[in-house]
């Protein structure tokens, strides 16, 4: 027999002025099952809560209804009051008579009062069907998986590992380092990118809590927060890393030349290669697409010259599995391909290059020894035009967003050009200069004033070739005149674009991505590093364009999130989730197809009646279920129900009015 206690709150004047509360209490007392009803000035106050606690004990109440503000406001407060009194907190219901009655019917007290009575009647009816629920605790596997070994992935892995949590770092290329390793110097301080990055890379390789898996890719992720199971493909490197010393004889002797991705194709690498001298691990891999031994079975030079016998042409891809509790995705970015800019002669003019090609050229370890040269004839350029926003902020040919870093790196390029070629001149076409960051504006000033780069406000209209010069036409909007710059080389500040495999990866991980392929955060402001799927976090440019400091900061933030997740042996979870009554379930698996979280699995249970046969029924994975109720509504035999919002509770509410 239900014994419901109802507490009606005045909320000072908020409810009291617009609802006749004594009348509501009188009406409430008439409801069957209500054993106690009382009004109070502020039920959420300490004495108010004390009153609830006392009444529960004194009147042996079986459920509580508080008629006050929205449950989104104080449900937790009142639940705690119940649990302090030794009552299951989920036996509480809140009737929202403030937001839904007193505040919206301020001119009609009678109607507001009548509506409040109805809302309380509904809450009472619902509370009768309330069940005792208990927080779910889910065990946690304390190992993190970091996908991507760029600066964001490196930082996240190091920070997590420093908290003595094991980390598996998966990188698809032969070395970690990512895009940052390709940079020459970094804005706004102009310190050498390699110099600050390589110590971090070495730390990763030597950290006792980090397992580094280079040349590997994640292929599958199952499970749920705290209990993921990842399948990782270790691609065949054809080199035994255990015995290889990284001496380099093999790649010096290899006869096959392939465009070098690390140098953006400016020069060639061999078919057996280590991407750059500071690579970690500094062991070569064989590029199976180009190695003649692997394609045609002819050559074998590398095996012949290797003194350690580390070359193994028979090596196969290897699948490994790791149990992990959390995932950090840091897959970084690709450069947007400027091909649609036909007016800039992209693809036709060799001396129109992208910013990263320029970056490699001016890099001391780059293909041209740190001096920019014209790809067409190898001469050192004197007049260089830099065009910003190529792809960025261009709905017609590129993407709508601002890539955030181009203003700064173009300023850096202008300075570097001046450093490398003293008698050169930089012309920068810009639309706006976005230099919000510590020391950024000062840095742009340095490019303009100290280096003397000519800044022209306008988007370049066309580039054409005259002799061996490139003629760059654009408007300088500040003087309202069309200018034509005679240039030796043009550098396009191409946009940051999400890593091309992001959509596939997102599908594999079960997280969402935007129309460009950037992975989506759970909330743009308040949950910028989490995804909508619990236990999967984002760091770096995989989420949006970022510069190095921002990527590092976000990576550290993910580390904090991972550490917090792993702070106990188990995790607590809201019990308002779905469950299957196997007796009613007929195993049609329609629920499996509608679940947005893949939280429903199937299991075999005995047929019953002493039969040895089994039948398949659905089963909800408690750890994964978020309690949306999609499966409940489509279950025709009502075999699934949602704790806290059961069919019975809702039908009671419907019938109560």
């Amino acid at each position: 027999m239900a014994r419901v206690g109802v507490f009606v709150c005045f909320c000072g004047a908020n409810i009291g002025d617009f609802v006749d509360i004594p009348a509501v209490v009188e009406e409430t007392k008439k409801i069957k099952d209500v054993k106690y009803a009382i009004e109070y000035k502020y039920v959420c106050s300490d004495p108010g809560q004390q009153m609830i606690r006392d009444t529960i004990v004194d009147h042996r109440l079986t459920s509580i209804v508080v008629a006050a503000c929205s449950p989104r406001m104080h449900e937790k407060t009142f639940r705690k009051a119940l649990s302090d009194a030794g009552m299951n907190p989920y036996l509480l219901e809140v009737a929202n008579i403030r937001e839904h009655a007193s505040w919206v019917h301020q001119k009609d007290k009678e109607a507001a009062t009548e509506k409040s009575c109805d809302l309380i009647r509904m809450a009472v009816a619902k509370s009768i069907a309330n069940e005792q629920l208990h927080e779910i605790s889910v065990p946690v596997t304390k190992r993190a998986l970091v996908i991507g070994g760029g600066i964001a992935g490196i930082q996240a892995a190091l920070d997590i590992a420093d908290a003595r949590i094991p980390v598996t770092l998966v990188e698809k290329s032969p070395s970690i380092g990512g895009r940052m390793a390709q940079l020459d110097e970094t804005f706004p301080t102009l310190d050498c990118s390699q110099c600050i990055l390589t110590p971090r890379m070495v730390d990763v390789a030597s950290h006792p809590y980090i397992e580094l898996l280079p040349y590997s890719e994640v292929t599958e992720l199952d499970g749920y927060v705290g209990n993921y199971k990842a399948k990782i493909k270790k691609k065949a490197s054809f080199v035994n890393f255990d015995t290889c010393t990284g001496c380099g004889t093999c790649w010096q002797k290899c006869p096959v030349k392939v465009p070098n991705e690390f140098n953006m194709g400016v020069d060639k690498r061999k078919a057996i290669y280590s991407p750059f001298p500071q690579a970690v691990p500094n062991k070569p891999v064989i590029d199976a697409e180009h190695c003649t031994m692997l394609i045609k079975g002819k050559c074998g030079v590398c095996a012949k010259v290797c003194e350690k016998g580390s070359i193994d042409y028979e090596m196969k891809d290897e699948m490994i599995e790791r149990e992990i509790g959390a995932v950090v995705v840091a897959t970084g970015f690709d450069l947007w391909d400027p091909k649609p800019y036909e007016e800039y002669g992209v693809g036709r003019f060799k001396d129109v290059i992208t910013s990263l090609e320029f970056e490699r050229m001016v890099s001391a370890n780059g293909p041209t020894g740190g001096v920019p040269v014209r790809p067409s004839d190898g001469n050192v350029p004197k007049n260089v035009v830099f065009i910003k926003c190529v792809g960025s902020r261009d709905e017609a040919k590129g993407i709508e967003y601002c890539s955030k870093v181009c203003c700064m790196y173009t300023a850096k390029h202008a300075i570097l050009l001046h450093h490398k070629v003293h008698d050169s001149h930089a012309y920068v076409f810009y639309m706006d200069i976005r230099a919000a960051g510590k020391g950024y504006e000062e840095f742009v000033k340095r490019a303009q004033v100290e280096t003397g780069a000519t800044y022209l406000r306008g988007r370049v209209s066309k580039i054409y070739k005259k002799g061996d010069k490139l003629m760059v036409i654009g408007e300088d909007a500040q003087i309202g005149q069309v200018v034509e710059v005679e240039a030796d080389m043009v550098v396009l500040a191409t946009a940051i674009y999400p890593y091309k495999d992001n959509p596939d990866l997102a599908r594999l991980l079960g997280i969402s991505y935007d129309k460009y392929g950037f992975l989506s955060e759970a909330h743009p402001k308040l949950r910028p590093v989490e995804t909508a799927k619990a236990g999967i976090f984002l760091a770096g440019c995989t989420q949006a364009p970022k510069d190095i400091p921002d990527s590092v900061a976000q990576a550290s933030a993910t580390a904090a999130k991972v550490c917090a997740l792993f702070s106990g042996d188990t995790m607590k979870k809201d019990p308002m989730i779905a469950s299957v009554n196997p007796e009613f379930c007929s195993g049609c698996e329609n629920c499996v197809s509608v679940c947005p979280y893949q939280a429903i699995v199937t299991e075999e249970i005995p047929m019953g009646h002493g039969s040895e046969e089994v039948r398949t029924v659905s089963k909800i994975n408690e750890g994964v279920c978020q309690g949306c109720g999609s499966c409940v509504a489509i279950c025709r035999s009502m075999a699934i129900d949602l704790a806290g919002f059961t069919d019975m509770q809702i039908i009671n509410e419907i019938v109560a009015i």
Binding site: F584, S586, S593, V594, R636, A639
Partner: protein, 283 residues
């Protein structure tokens, strides 16, 4: 359309090769050429089997009962029946490896008045879509036709339509024959019988029938294949197809021309969605 001999031959072969434990087909009642379903367990009984344009029932219904579960079954399916079978396969109610399916490229069956049945006139897919052996010449999918009765009713004023349906609901005796005859009503426990749903409806009342039939038709929305087993089973002769065809039409017109059970592994319309589903009815 008479495939009696072919079906008898195939059934006999299946029994002799011990490929099946049981065969579901039609036999003649000996009365006015009417036929009823028959379950054949033995080789010698295959002579009872017939198939003509009086073979109206959807035999896949028998696959949902315990006496066929986990048995190797041979059966005859027409176009509509094969679609319900497809859905039963998708929804894990039968195992494909247990079935030997004789598909019919159907030319339409007769109603009680000896005319071509309405659902056959309006049929979208007369050929069996899943089979091990196909009899007859397939004619392919046809253009979707709006049900004639629905067309007629939709033009009536609201109040008249309400009255029409009130009569239907009033005449329902809640015997649940419709449910038993539907191959897709295989739930272990029907929601209509559960405590939660019986609350506040009054069982054998107009309102109760309204609730039961509406819920039932919505559970079959996007799944019903218009075999009309339910209508044939109904002792009150209620035009139950009205509810199903109405839903089918709304679903076909709005959700990428969805038709139940046409493709294997294609679930009912409510278990998938498209971003471009109609949104204009929502404020």
């Amino acid at each position: 359309m008479d495939y009696t001999m072919q079906i008898q031959d195939t059934a006999a072969r299946l029994f002799s090769e011990e490929k099946i434990d049981l065969f579901i087909g039609y036999r003649s009642t000996g009365f006015d050429n009417n036929q009823v379903p028959v379950l054949i367990h033995h080789y010698q009984d295959v002579e009872q089997l017939v198939f003509t344009d009086k073979s109206v029932f959807n035999l896949t219904n028998y696959l949902k009962y315990e006496y066929t579960r986990n048995k190797r079954v041979g059966l005859v399916v027409k176009g509509c029946d094969s679609r319900s079978l497809n859905l039963m396969l998708t929804e894990n109610q039968v195992k494909r490896e247990n079935l030997f399916i004789i598909g019919i490229a159907c030319e339409g069956v007769m109603n009680e008045q000896g005319e071509k049945a309405q659902n056959c006139v309006e049929c979208v897919m007369p050929d069996a879509v899943i089979y091990d052996e196909l009899l007859g010449a397939p004619t392919g999918q046809r253009e979707y036709q709006v049900n004639a009765d629905i067309n007629e009713l939709a033009e009536q004023p609201l109040i008249e339509r309400g009255t029409h349906f009130e009569e239907i609901f009033e005449n329902c005796i809640r015997c649940n024959a419709c449910r038993h005859s539907c191959p897709l009503c295989y739930c272990n426990k029907c929601c209509i019988d559960q405590e939660t749903s019986t609350l506040y409806q009054g069982s054998n009342t107009t309102s109760g029938a309204f609730h039961a039939l509406m819920t039932w038709s919505l559970h079959l929305a996007g799944r019903c294949v218009d075999c009309r087993n339910c209508e044939k089973a109904c002792p009150s002769h209620l035009p139950l197809h009205l509810l199903h065809k109405q839903n089918e039409q709304v679903i076909y017109e709005n959700f990428q021309e969805h038709l139940a059970g046409m493709i294997k592994d294609d679930r009912g319309a409510f278990y998938k969605y498209s971003m471009s589903d109609p949104d204009d009815f929502i404020m």
